[in-house]
Symmetry: C2
Subunit: 481 residues, 2 copies
């Protein structure tokens, strides 16, 4: 039975090349990350998917605290009048808001929005909390879920409710706010690259693509294996766009009232979608060790034979004591073959087999999920061996993703080249900065401006679209999730 | 200026004896734990209050995982039809639900409740997830906020939105579900007593006071310093009350379909209210080291003198490296006196002063927040000294609270004694088990049945209220939050 089922596992996953979108859906479902619910567009995170999110959260939260941020918890409901205070912001979010109109058996006098994002409630509270320059900066973050009434949804990529963190900070000067905006972009880049093993392009969004209400938006853009871009995180400098309508002012050292300068920044459960599409393969999920719920799984081989379970348990205890997230799969009603497939599908970075022959040789047999490479590790220093392998897997996964990204990124100098390149990846070009060119590129190729890298060394004389000379920007273009 | 302000601090807090309720509100506000928001009945958790909740969360989450539970995330919205499936449950929660009726610019066909609790959505998903006995038990938990449209609210004790955890588990047998219900009650008791230093009474709720839809509810009941009870956590055994209407069935080893047996259990940000009212004093908050955002605060004395700041920083690094949550208060625009008051108000367990004389003697001068006792610790082994003191403070705080609780708990044998005792604390009595007696006690004394202890050794022959003999229960009574 187990062998038949082993076949089934493999058959169920649609090949990436055949239908990338269906492959994604298959992996999400078979790896048991989430489930659909009877609530339109809302998902449930199952234990395995939720644990990945917890590990992302722990890794980021540590970095937020190290950079001087504190967590708070804001109300999930926002009165309509607050949402209306900043004009661009309203326009951006009002169409996709879910409204509470009844509470405790009564019709409410004012509608309350379930937060689509929390700028307006943070601003309301900052206006109460900020008095003097001594109160600044206030660097806050919250972990919560938000709600956007999306028409079409896809697991992790676009759902009505999703989980995220939103940082909100207020500062005494424009310079400090800009520093914060770039600092948090760098925190995201470092986390994405070092922990999620996903290389990214950091840069500034165009006017068209920036956040509703921001003066400047920055993003980290990742490349999925179908060559499409996924915006993995954004940071926004609001300047005084919100502090003016919300009257967030502080008394400076000279006793005068000034408006604060504000930022916000966030990443969401979208990152799980990015992990799947940046690393997954025909066998399923492939998780970087930094956020793998189980970094290594131990499988007893011929578990009924004397000494096998004891050795497996010893190995488990040794790895656990060394801080490795390890799972001992002692289910006796499944064959090793079934388990191999299941843990590959779930993307566990390292498989360890321990059977009678391994014990005779004083080793565990391993298989790396990233390269399928097999080998042995001495049991008496298993923890060191496992830790080295996990680091190597992390580096290896980054390298594969980075090589792929570079192979799918190309400088383009005319619309024909741009149109071809965005079929397979990112195109880098000069751009005149005009909305008309962005619109035309979107219309012709369904590609959008991703971001402008910090290195703005010109690569050509003319805008890739209109051909104009004059002031120009280096811009990345791609189709995007 | 600082000296004047020191006076102000003390004057602001209403004495406990004068008005306990106002004292509570003062401490909440001055210790900067939360703030009111423009959203009716909803609070914002400020960094200090939010950090206490994070530490509570970390401590409990560790225990949940150690007892085999996994976290999930469920949707915040619940369609009305799901909420209506279990009759008692609906009746209990429907009056206090907030309803979403519009989304994305359209009127919804079915109202969606913001979860007041998540039994119905968990049940819906369990019905999809449970197939075979091999899937059981499923032991899940989620950390989230929930919404109950309360008429009157008080910070942490009763608010429209509050943060909590809700465990939901399904089991193959009634025995396992009952074991789980009692195990989680014990996890709560152990955490409350060992980490929050709050002694509790564990026991079973009466029929009248049990959770809407449960077969049996258990609680841990804490005593506040005004003698009133605070229900700090509850666990529920649902039996098959939900699995029948939601059709959560599994195939047993014999191939037959059976209904699962279900539990749920939760604690909330109410615990912060419990911390304040169980431990606080005329100077403000008094936090047990286990959940104190800063376990120790270092205050430089004569900070401008040579070597003082250096020694303070050394001490800070030493404590931090030893895993102590330590704060170095280097604000140079406040006097030590101001800082003394501020950190006492915020309940920091241990104050460390380091000035020129201390440095001469190779010590730090400490003050314990629990007893105000002062002493010195050698600087060269400061971490060991601080850790020992923190443990002693934890024990000491529990002892004080426990002595208080015992001094305010008494066996009562008639209505007169009961009426007197619930003015100052808990009354223990025999009770016939009838709702009529509970109603009468509530009407006459505004006291409610708290719980029936596991030790049911009779203390009298007759029900304290109606005087009937026959089958009786030992019951605790108190006024309650």
């Amino acid at each position: 039975m187990a062998k038949q089922s082993k076949q089934e596992f493999v058959q169920h996953i649609t090949p990436r090349e055949e239908n990338f979108s269906q492959w994604y859906t298959d992996v999400v479902r078979f790896a048991d990350l989430m489930d659909y619910t009877p609530v339109r567009g809302c998902m449930a995170l199952k234990p395995y998917g939720n644990r990945i999110w917890e590990l992302i959260r722990e890794g980021l939260d540590k970095r937020f605290k190290e950079t001087g941020h504190e967590n708070v918890s804001m109300p999930m409901l926002i009165p309509e009048s607050l949402l209306l205070k900043e004009a661009e912001h309203v326009e951006g979010f009002a169409p996709e808001v879910a409204w509470v109109t009844q509470g405790g058996g009564e019709v409410l006098q004012e509608r309350l929005a379930i937060r689509p994002t929390s700028e307006t409630i943070f601003c309301t509270m900052f206006a109460q909390w900020v008095q003097s320059w001594r109160d600044l900066p206030m660097k806050y973050n919250q972990w919560c879920s938000v709600m956007r009434w999306e028409k079409t949804t896809r697991p992790f990529l676009r759902t009505a409710e999703f989980w995220w963190q939103e940082g909100h900070t207020v500062h005494a000067t424009a310079e400090e706010a800009q520093e914060e905006t770039l600092l948090m972009l760098e925190v995201y880049r470092e986390f994405l690259e070092n922990v999620l093993a996903i290389p990214v392009f950091s840069g500034q969004k165009s006017e068209k693509e920036k956040f509703a209400g921001a003066r400047a938006t920055y993003s980290v853009e990742a490349m999925m294996q179908d060559g499409k871009a996924l915006q993995a995180g954004t940071t926004h400098n609001f300047g005084t766009n919100f502090s003016e309508p919300f009257e967030i002012r502080f008394q400076n050292k000279e006793g005068q009232l000034e408006y604060v300068h504000e930022t916000s920044w966030g990443v969401s459960t979208r990152l799980i979608g990015a992990l799947i599409m940046a690393h997954g393969d025909e066998r399923g999920l492939k998780l970087p060790p930094g956020v793998a719920p189980h970094q290594a799984v131990i499988l007893p081989i011929a578990a009924h034979k004397g000494g096998v379970m004891e050795k497996c348990e010893e190995a488990y205890e040794q790895l656990k004591a060394a801080g490795v997230r390890v799972k001992l799969d002692d289910r006796d009603y499944l064959t090793p073959g079934w388990k191999f497939n299941e843990w590959e599908l779930k993307g566990v970075p390292l498989r360890l087999e321990i059977g009678p022959r391994d014990i005779e040789n004083g080793v565990a047999t391993y298989m790396r999920r990233d390269t399928f490479e097999k080998g042995t590790l001495p049991l008496d220093r298993l923890a060191e061996g496992v830790k080295e392998l996990l680091e190597d897997i992390n580096r290896g996964m980054f390298k594969i993703a980075d090589d792929f990204r570079l192979s799918r990124t190309r400088d383009v100098f005319n619309m024909k080249e741009l149109g071809e390149q965005v079929q397979i990846g990112y195109a880098r070009s000069m751009w005149c900065g005009k909305r008309a060119c962005e619109d035309r590129i979107k219309e012709e190729f369904a590609a959008t401006s991703r971001n402008m890298p910090f290195d703005q060394t010109p690569i050509a004389e003319h805008c890739v679209c209109c051909g104009e000379e004059g002031e120009k920007k280096v811009m990345y273009w791609a189709k995007a999730y």
